[in-house]
Symmetry: C2
């Protein structure tokens, strides 16, 4: 059965996203620095870099704890930052700092979409030979708004925004389009979300790492040895890779 359909992840595959979250995390750790002195997070010998690490670890733990309830995206991240700020400061953080965090959340949601290098040319090159799908997770309104802003929506024959990327959610997408797994290949930056659940269905996947990976998308590399999937260093290598598969 021939490959007919290529699915693309969006955040960190077609446009920059995690780099904005990372910059916000940096500002967040700076904002909280004054409160880590007195806090239980601080051990006597830790310097600036491990202070930052401790705040970031606390943020990630709270994001992980909230994931099932709040899901993915900038609103969930903002709520988790506020919760972390209150915990780390042991309730001492002033409202002005919380207002700053709210502004960062708005900035993340308002950030202009910046396509990764090579995205337009690659999609153009593939559109003649394959049906292209955009399959993304996160906040519905924010994803819709980024897709509209990106200018690349018309090249996709379908756009699917899902709350989480599991084998089940991919199965629903394939089923809705009467696609067999063998006809489908997924492209994305997250082994956890874009590769493993797709392999589980018997479809193919191409991993294109982004220069930073969100902690909750990280995947133990030791598990990867046994998995069979393709990799590119950047999206421009994709057409040649797909040709080599045929």
């Amino acid at each position: 059965m021939a490959l007919t359909t290529i699915g693309f992840d969006a955040d960190d595959t077609l446009w920059h996203s995690e780099s904005h979250f990372l910059l916000t995390t940096d500002r967040f750790c700076e904002l909280l620095a004054p409160w880590t002195q007195a806090s239980r997070l601080q051990s006597p010998s830790t310097g600036d870099s491990s202070q930052r690490e401790l705040i970031e670890t606390q943020l990630i733990n709270i994001e992980r704890r909230n994931l099932q309830l709040l899901g993915y995206g900038a609103k969930a991240f903002t709520l988790s930052m506020i919760e972390t700020a209150i915990e780390v400061s042991e309730g001492e953080i002033p409202a002005s700092a919380i207002a700053e965090i709210l502004r960062w959340g708005h900035e993340l949601l308002n950030h202009p979409v910046e396509l990764l290098d090579g995205v337009n040319a690659t999609l153009d090159a593939l559109a003649g030979s394959y049906e292209l799908l955009l399959i993304t997770k996160g906040d519905l309104l924010h994803q819709e708004s980024k897709i509209a802003q990106s200018g690349i929506a018309p090249i996709f024959s379908g756009i699917e925004i899902v709350s989480n990327k599991t084998a089940d959610s991919y199965q629903r997408v394939l089923h809705g389009r009467a696609l067999h797994a063998k006809e489908f290949l997924m492209v994305g930056n997250s082994v956890r979300s874009d590769v493993l659940p797709v392999l589980e269905l018997g479809a193919q996947a191409v991993h294109i790492p982004y220069h930073v990976t969100w902690a909750l998308e990280e995947h133990e590399s030791t598990d990867l040895q046994a998995e069979q999937f393709h990799s590119c260093r950047n999206i421009s290598e994709l057409p040649a890779l797909l040709s080599s598969l045929n």
Copy 2:
């Protein structure tokens, strides 16, 4: 062309929602009461009830201002409550009060689904004669979780979660199912979201008011005179109404 498909709104049409938000708003206004004394919101002659009204008005204004960026749902509501608390208290609100607001947000997202009276029997009565669709807006993950919890998902031949209910979004739903507007009737509690955009497409709509309406869903009644749609006092009247249309 015969009516074949009935669309149902979910929040406040199939299950309770706004009543939980209203209870949270009550607690929010109580929480902020100490800060309204010194605030610009307070005019010398206003008593308790108008204090509450002033806080609520401020919350609604901030929700309206955030709507395009944050969209609908409990996460957006929580972020707007926090923003309102900081504004109304002029930055004086302590972190412990913000933590309380975060907990209310989690409670809203965790609240068990309570079907409205008559929902099960009405859906059962209609399922033999019509295709039933569930068409809801708001937070993707929270809506999915409520649909799963409700136990009524299997009766629907399709479930659509949209970021906003406009004529365009209904058009996409109808188009995706190759439905003509004349084959479709929408049922919901919001004139603004469930009735007017559907009438605009030339489809029919039934308005079933919920006992409370969120301010941003309110519709000027003067505009309604010219509109042609059906009304029921509760969902149990729907089968008889639909029979009378044939």
